[in-house]
């Protein structure tokens, strides 16, 4: 055994982690070598020094903070560990946390809207750096204080921000979400719209409302948020660093590379590293969501209506301004209202998020499904979102087309040309993006893309979608809170 080998074994010897043979070899060399004994003594001393480091006690309010968050409806990520539920409901418990993520996505996008962006940046940072469970409440407070203080500021941009209608953030309890999802008898599919009865405080009056959620793919949402923030070059006032950490800082290039294990905790750790997403839900596609049936049951059937499952063409959605609608399943693009939201009885409702055309950055998405027979640790998602210089797009597209269809899905989106193109022989890939917005220009742009998407979707689109679902054993979803329909609408029962 070489000197180097023995050196490396010293630590393991110290820790009692050697085999009997290795231990014998080390002890024999220790007896022979004074230098080795000195090294061993030094390592032992280092070990003791670390063990003797003071370990601060938890702050006095540590435990009470946890218990308060458990008791707080919005904060509690589930209704508790003891409640019996269907097998798939272990996922549903996470949905309530995902609601908070959805709220954050909405708030984040609103805060990045140009007119009030600078004025609200501090609040966004404050909310983002707060403990996850406090974010929604803090953001509420931040909005209130922003609205109150803005008129007294001389900054014209602040005045513009103050002139915007306030954003109402409605707290929906996890129990309400959970109950609704339980009623569905299965996990909601991507693109589903779910209505949850809730209440909104108006002064001292509690008004019944219906909160509409759209199920989106968390990876899609995250990538789009990263692209948006990168394009807006939103940076922290304190550190001047981008609020969301991208792997490349070049403002002209946005690269988000995720290598996501199918192992839940690791995937959660990565996704939860994005400030705008603090909870995710995993769905086993093979057992929970029928691969060939990615869409919800007939949304207009009495049964679906009784569950509060709504299609996006329902009147309630057509009339209300939709801040951002992200349908990550291409098949749902056609469900997006084909016209700009028309002012109806809900016209005075706030439109918290302005045009989301920023989302539509030219980008290539590549998804490489895991090896079918790979071990759990080998089964990793390789999901990349790449935005690249114009001159390299064509080449990249060619490269993407060369990938075997059964092994990858690609999608090109182009905003300026108002077109959405899919790779040959493929449908609009899951992850396709559509926006519904109150901004006429952006609506036109989004509508143009939707039209093109319809035209280019080949007849075999559903099969392609099924292939996609088959190839991905797990997906992560969040609920994106879409809007808060008005009090005049009776809650769905």
């Amino acid at each position: 055994m070489s000197e180097k080998d023995i050196q490396e074994l010293l630590s393991a010897y110290l820790d009692g982690e050697l085999s009997p043979e290795e231990k014998g070899a080390v002890e024999s060399r220790l007896e022979e070598s004074l230098e080795l004994r000195e090294d061993f003594a030094a390592l032992t001393e280092v070990s003791q020094q670390i063990r003797m480091l003071p370990r601060p006690c938890a702050p006095a309010n540590f435990r009470t903070g946890i218990l308060e968050r458990l008791d707080r409806p919005v904060v509690s990520l589930s209704s508790g560990p003891g409640r019996p539920s269907p097998p798939w409901m272990s996922y549903a418990a996470r949905w309530s946390g995902a609601v908070a993520a959805g709220l954050l996505v909405m708030i984040g996008v609103w805060a990045l809207t140009p007119p009030g962006r600078d004025a609200q940046l501090a609040n966004v940072e404050k909310a983002a750096s707060a403990p996850a469970a406090d974010r929604v409440l803090m953001t509420n407070a931040a909005q209130d204080s922003s609205a109150e203080s803005a008129p007294s500021e001389s900054d014209a941009r602040l005045a513009m921000a103050a002139s915007e209608p306030p954003v109402h953030v409605v707290n929906v309890s996890p129990e309400e979400i959970r109950r609704k999802i339980e009623e569905l008898q299965r996990p909601p599919a991507r693109g589903n719209v779910i209505q949850v009865p809730s209440r909104m405080m108006s002064g001292e009056e509690e008004i019944p409302i219906v909160v509409v959620f759209t199920v989106v793919d968390v990876m899609e949402a995250m990538n789009q948020m990263q692209v948006l923030v990168q394009r807006e070059q939103v940076r922290s006032r304190r550190t001047r660093e981008p609020i969301l950490m991208n792997q490349q800082a070049d403002p002209q290039l946005t690269a988000v590379t995720l290598e996501l294990s199918t192992d839940g905790p690791e995937m959660a750790a990565i996704l939860n590293g994005v400030p705008a997403v603090d909870a995710v839900m995993f769905v086993d596609n093979q057992s929970a969501i029928p691969a060939a049936e990615p869409a919800s049951p007939d949304p207009l059937s009495p049964e679906a209506a009784s569950m509060g499952l709504a299609a996006s063409e329902r009147p309630i959605l057509q009339n209300a301004p939709a801040p951002v609608t992200i349908h990550s399943d291409g098949s749902n693009v056609t469900n997006v209202p084909s016209e700009a939201p028309t002012p109806g009885p809900l016209a005075d409702q706030p439109a918290p998020v302005a045009a989301s055309a920023e989302f539509a950055q030219t980008q290539t998405r590549t998804f490489v499904p895991p090896e079918p027979n790979a071990s759990p640790m080998q089964q990793r998602f390789n999901f990349q979102t790449l935005a690249m210089p114009v001159e390299s797009r064509a080449e990249a597209e060619r490269d993407q087309r060369n990938v075997a269809p059964s092994r990858s899905m690609t999608m090109m989106q182009k905003t300026e040309g108002r077109e959405v193109s899919a790779s040959p022989n493929r449908s609009q890939a899951p992850g396709a993006l559509a926006e519904s917005t109150s901004d006429p220009m952006a609506t036109e742009s989004a509508q143009s893309r939707k039209n093109v998407a319809r035209q280019e979707s080949p007849p075999g689109g559903d099969q392609q979608s099924a292939d996609w679902n088959d190839s991905r054993r797990f997906r992560a979803y969040i609920l994106l809170k879409q809007q808060t329909p008005p009090a005049t609408q009776a809650p769905q029962k």
Partner: protein, 191 residues
């Protein structure tokens, strides 16, 4: 897995939040104390620690009691700590500040009787903390798991998702680096 923990977990699973509160009380100091060193920030350690307990509460039904509750909790906390590192948005509160806030001082009985000796101990600990903080996470994590949590190499390998051989070499390398840093610090002090 102690019978006490089992009893508290069973009670928490029936909806008894006070029972879960007892579990928090039992392990909060140990977890927080390690997280402070892992993250180098008292604020981050508090947030990550609280999030870990909340996540543990959520997932309590999935805990099969094959390992101790603390080891299970620590795994959750470590993954949360990785997430926290990725954010890195706020200025760190140093360990010294954390101790100041919590009113914790180095536990050395001799320090009470000999103020000078107390200062020396504190200075030495500061140097070790500094050296530890300067290590890259791949070395810092494993040495903390070993020295502060007393985890076996096999447990560490599972936690950081790498072979045992890698854990062994990282721990050794971490100790070597710490030794070098501490030697240099002592030399600077003597000059």
């Amino acid at each position: 897995m102690t019978s006490d923990d089992s009893r508290l977990i069973e009670a928490a699973l029936t909806g008894n939040r006070d029972a879960f509160g007892e579990l928090v009380l039992k392990y909060q100091d140990r977890l927080y104390g390690t997280l402070v060193h892992l993250l180098g920030s008292a604020d981050d350690a508090r947030d990550v620690g609280q999030d870990a307990f909340l996540l543990a509460y959520q997932k309590l039904r999935t805990f099969r009691q094959e390992s101790s509750f603390y080891v299970w909790l620590f795994r959750i906390a470590y993954h949360a700590a990785i997430s926290s590192r990725r954010r890195k948005n706020r200025p760190k509160l140093s360990l010294d500040e954390a101790r100041e806030r919590a009113g914790i001082e180095p536990e050395d009985e001799r320090a009470h009787s000999d103020p000078e000796r107390g200062l020396q101990v504190e200075e030495a600990q500061h140097q070790v903390q500094q050296a530890l903080a300067e290590l890259s996470p791949e070395f810092r994590d494993v040495i903390i798991f070993k020295e502060m949590e007393g985890l076996a190499y096999e447990e560490i390998a599972l936690l950081v998702d790498c072979p045992i051989g890698t854990v062994r070499s990282r721990i050794h390398r971490a100790r070597q680096l710490l030794r070098e840093k501490l030697t240099k610090a002592m030399e600077r002090e003597q000059k």
